[in-house]
Amino acid sequence: MMEVLVRMRILLIIPAYNEGKNIEKLISKINSECDSAVDILIINDCSTDDTQSICNDINALTINLPCNLGIGGAVQTGYKYARLHDYDIAIQVDGDGQHKPEYIMDLVRYITEEKADMVIGSRFINKEGFQSTFMRRVGIAYFTYLLKFLSKRVITDPTSGFRACNKKVINEFSKRYPVDYPEPESIMYLLRNGYRIKEVPVIMQERKEGKSSITTFKSLYYMLKVSLAILIDRFRKQIV
């Protein structure tokens, strides 16, 4: 097991938008959990707070984007970096401390054992820890049913941003990745192209500081937009 890990090059992609209060704790926790098995890359999506200077202080590898691209564009920057530097595994972890670093190696194990091309950390398998608000859960269940209807596959937590993927998927994502609220659409994209997706149970935390970037008014618009995007993607044949 350890040997495999040593040979594998693993990149941790952390998209951060105004996460100055969370990022330092997160990085130190990751360092203590994962040792030097992984490289950490923070994508600072043009934050207006002190995220940049904090990342600089703790000497973390950071890409400071000159314009705000939104979560999709920020994460894709990470995948492009992973591709450029020939990483074997890329893992997405949100910058707000929702995702516990303890589970990173669980996700990695599935990839190294080649059980899946992408592994999603799901909070709804064991239903432990922070389960999100009621409205959010309704939205998530809706996407689960939509994906099940269109692809015949059950993904219990399609909006989870806690994901690991192998080299093939890194290549796909660096070519094409949806822009805002990208997770459900990218799952459809992978399923359509015949990639294997697995879920592992994780426990998530409520975000510590700051607000979630999705407001109530916007969420309805996003539901509609993402549904349409998934539906249209279902009708695409091959990657162009």
């Binding site: 314009c67 822009v179 937009k225 349409l228 995007a229 249209i232 162009v240």
Partner: protein
């Protein structure tokens, strides 16, 4: 009310346009984000042509004599909404291009400085 002829033209037109948009998105030539308003406009037109009573009601409420005129007013209003959203997007994009160009210019300067320093060091060796 609107005539049956106009009703059919509107329905066919809206469906053809929606399919055209759908196809372009499918081919990755349109971004869904900027197509949403067009799709909503087509949905409105479709709704009105299927339920023409609505436009009669609207015309009456607004004090317009002919329902067709209310339809024109509504559609031109929607077009202005789309135009305005385009203006917003153009402004956002131009700001981003400016930021990017500045960043690129700064980076270029840094690269030139670094290569010059490297050359100097090599000469000194």
């Amino acid at each position: 009310m609107i005539s049956l002829k106009l009703q059919v033209i509107l329905i066919v037109g809206a469906i053809v346009c929606a399919l055209f948009l759908f196809n372009l998105i499918k081919k990755y030539r349109l971004e869904l984000k900027y197509t949403m308003l067009w799709l909503i406009l087509m949905l409105i037109i479709l709704m009105i042509s299927i339920f023409p009573n609505f436009i009669g009601f609207l015309a009456h409420a607004m004090g317009i004599e002919l329902p067709v005129n209310a339809l024109f007013l509504l559609v031109s209003f929607c077009s202005y909404a789309i135009l305005f959203s385009m203006t917003i997007n153009a402004s956002k994009s131009s700001t981003k291009v400016k930021e990017l160009s500045q960043e690129l210019g700064l980076l270029k300067l840094e690269v030139i400085r670094l290569t010059e320093e490297l050359h100097k060091k090599e000469k000194n060796k």
